[in-house]
């Protein structure tokens, strides 16, 4: 069996058996499931939100109830009760009572009518906190319609016409198919699919970033516990580095497969049981995206891993690596900052130029490929070719630094010295 494969399999086995790997595999699905599932569970456990309509004109209360009944999204979650005091004394005590109920959380809020100077009427909402409750948001959105209709009546306009004038307007979104040029109404699922580029890019970045850090730690550990010297009498530094990077690629693909598999199952479950008419699995529908995803992960990882192993081998502690690794980390962060823009403008000049810069290519090309419209295949080939060239250079430089650095102890070199090391003639036997 090839020595590279032996090194890779040993590294891979050790990593996938570690607690860190299990945590990494579980953390992303747990975070996503928790971020979606916990609010849903909490909403369900919280039950409906109650508001009291205090001394509101009778027709406002009726219209509000009609509007709530007509809205499927809130009719089960937003409950209103009408209170109409008959005298000023009753009015005062009733208001005090309602306020007490808000304070003791038996009521979420009080909706009351207010008369402004000039006789114009409006509504006020009193709550315990200025929170983000769905019912509160709905009232803030819809109460103005009642006020406007009321105002129209006082101005002598026809209330029914005014109500119609302010009725919600449904602007229909259409999307144009790139395949046949026909347009179709965009569904919630289609709107969701627009997030696919960002999701793919973020997962790609997160995996690469995490595993590059792990590889750095593992290289330092092997150097400091001196295992490396035993190994280097059996394998060449190049073989050893290739084995370690291969193990990282295998580990990354395992993690990504686990993440995507879990998310796909969760998306399917959520779509089937909780989301009416929204198919979350659309995010994973394009198989070509998965192929490009795997390919760009492997290429991106090799690019950054070879630089990391080379630079990391010159140091003996994680603290020492900080100075040398900072430029690499900065390069890795840029695609995340550009991710949203590139996803929405995949063929803009900035997106195109950035995706040809090898350090950004794995992330931004994936971003563009998952977006609509994707880049022409010639662009994919060209950008990937430039990336392959950069990988070749990175592996060469990483291997050279690794050969020199792996048995070097003491103060790590500075960036200038690293450049001098790269320019120095090749060692004779390696």
């Amino acid at each position: 069996m090839s020595r590279i494969l032996l090194v890779a399999l040993r590294d891979y086995r050790e990593r996938v058996r570690s607690r860190g790997f299990i945590v990494t595999i579980l953390i992303v699905p747990i975070m996503i499931v928790a971020s979606v599932g916990v609010p849903m569970l909490l909403d369900r456990a919280a039950g409906p939100t109650y508001f009291a309509l205090f001394d509101l004109p009778e027709r406002w209360s009726e219209q509000l109830q009609d509007m709530i009944n007509a809205d499927e999204d809130v009719k089960d979650n937003l409950k209103i009760e009408t209170t109409a005091p008959k005298s000023d004394a009753e009015r005062q005590s009733m208001l005090e009572d309602l306020r007490n109920r808000v304070r003791t959380e038996k009521l979420y809020g009080i909706v009351a009518a207010e008369t402004l100077e000039g006789g114009d009427r409006t509504a006020s909402i009193t709550t315990r906190t200025s929170g983000t409750n769905d019912g509160l948001r709905w009232l803030r959105r819809n109460l103005p319609t009642l006020v406007r209709v009321d105002r129209a009546g006082r101005l002598g306009l026809d209330p029914d016409q005014t109500r119609e004038l302010y009725a919600p307007v449904d602007i229909k979104p259409y999307i144009l198919s790139l395949a046949d040029g026909k347009s179709k109404e965009a569904s919630d699922t289609d709107r969701l699919a627009a997030f696919a580029p960002m999701i793919f890019t973020y997962l790609l970045w997160l995996t690469t970033f995490t595993l590059v850090q792990q590889l750095l730690m593992s290289t330092l550990e092997e150097k400091t516990n001196r295992t490396i010297e035993v190994i280097l009498s059996s394998v060449s530094p190049m073989e050893f580095m290739a084995g370690k990077v291969t193990a990282g690629v295998l580990e990354g693909l395992t993690i990504l497969a686990a993440w995507l598999g879990t998310l796909w199952l969760f998306a399917g479950y959520l779509s089937q049981h909780y989301l009416k008419g929204i198919d979350l699995t659309i995010l994973f529908a394009n198989k070509a995206n998965l192929v490009f995803f795997s390919m760009y992960f492997a290429l991106g990882f090799i690019l950054f891993a070879s630089m990391t192993v080379g630079l990391g081998s010159l140091c003996s502690t994680i603290r020492e690596t900080q100075g040398l690794m900072t430029p690499v980390m900065v390069l890795m962060v840029v695609p995340i900052l550009a991710m949203s823009f590139v996803g929405e403008n995949p063929n803009s000049p900035i997106a195109v130029v950035m995706s040809y810069i090898p350090f950004f290519t794995p992330f931004l090309m994936m971003n563009r490929i998952a977006a609509t419209p994707p880049p022409h295949w010639i662009e994919i080939v060209l950008a990937t070719s430039v990336l392959l060239g950069a990988i070749f250079a990175s592996v060469w430089a990483g291997a050279k630094l690794f050969r020199i650095g792996v048995l070097m102890y003491g103060k790590p070199p500075k960036i200038g010295e690293v450049i001098r090391l790269l320019r120095s003639p090749q060692s004779k036997t390696m």
């Binding site: 516990n225 001196r226 295992t227 035993v230 009498s233 059996s234 394998v235 060449s236 048995l407 390696m430």
Partner: protein, 298 residues
């Protein structure tokens, strides 16, 4: 035939010359000791022999090949700083390193078990390296080095840090390898170990070779001292005109006489002032030869 041939090798690290124009031959089937104090260039020379890095000048030939890397399956190397993967079991470690040396997994496991049994680690085959004592760790490291039955065994400071029991195990293991016809090259700054085991020695100091040859040849070329075991105060010995130098340890002294002074001249004067329990004309120890050679070096 030589297992290792080094010709005019020089290695620098920046401005520091670690090894300067060294040549040596390690005869096949011998135990060859590279001796010298810390910083003499022993480890650098061994790393060049192993192909871990190359010389700046000169050439290294190992088992007839221009680099140990091209015959790595025939060479076993135990570095001075020993490290193993802590999370792996002893048997998995032997299998893994055996695999890197071209031994098939099943065969590596079979040999690994047999070696562990033979050298007292039979109960620990499935123990993780991190759970082993330092002594067991060192033994295991040596077993890793010999599992693939190398023709040439290169050991850098194999006795460093060993307790007496593990020291003897290490010595036995080295002698077993020698009996199996293998060439053993080891470095040490412990002259006593080298003196007892080596057929050939090479002394390094400050990156330069100061002496080499067979053990008997080296000793024959250096006159010995006189060993005295005594009771009394031997401080006067150093003042005697016949005496060149004394290594005095209160009741034991190694006395080196000036050229052409017969030992009995010393005995006569010593008996006048000391109670002599032992008087022996000795060959010089390797330690003494080394000290003398270094002092005489320009």
């Amino acid at each position: 035939m030589n297992a290792v041939e080094i010709r005019a090798v020089t290695k620098r690290f920046g401005d520091f010359v670690a090894v300067n124009d060294i040549s040596l031959n390690v005869p096949a089937g011998s135990i060859y000791g590279i001796l010298g104090p810390n910083g003499a260039g022993k480890t650098t020379t061994i790393r060049m022999i192993c192909g871990i890095f190359g010389p700046d000048r000169g050439s290294v030939q190992v088992l007839g090949a221009p680099s140990a890397l091209s015959v790595r399956n025939r060479v076993g190397y135990l570095p001075e700083e020993k490290g193993l993967y802590k999370k792996m079991t002893a048997l998995d470690l032997l299998t893994y390193f055996g695999g890197l040396k071209g031994v098939a997994p099943a065969e590596a496991r079979r040999r690994g078990k047999a070696l562990m049994e033979r050298y007292g680690l039979g109960e620990h085959v499935n123990k993780k390296a991190e759970a082993m004592s330092k002594g067991m760790h060192q033994k295991l490291q040596l077993l890793v080095t010999v599992l693939h039955e190398p023709e040439l065994l290169i050991l850098d400071e194999p006795f460093s840090g060993l307790d007496p029991v593990n020291h003897d195990t290490m010595r036995d293991l080295i002698l077993d390898q020698r009996r199996a016809g293998r060439t053993i090259l080891f470095s040490t700054h412990n002259m006593e170990s080298a003196e007892k085991m080596c057929d050939h020695v090479c002394l390094f100091n400050r990156g330069q070779k100061v002496l080499d040859g067979t053990m008997s040849g080296v000793k024959a070329n250096h006159s010995g001292g006189v060993i005295l075991e005594y009771d009394g105060d031997a401080g006067f010995l150093q003042e005697l005109p016949e005496v060149d130098r004394v290594n005095d340890s209160t009741r034991y002294a190694e006395v080196f006489l000036k050229d052409s002074i017969p030992p009995h001249a010393l005995l006569k004067k010593a008996m006048e002032r000391l109670t002599i329990r032992r008087f022996e004309i000795s060959q010089p120890s390797l330690h003494e030869i080394f000290v003398r050679t270094v002092k005489e070096a320009p």
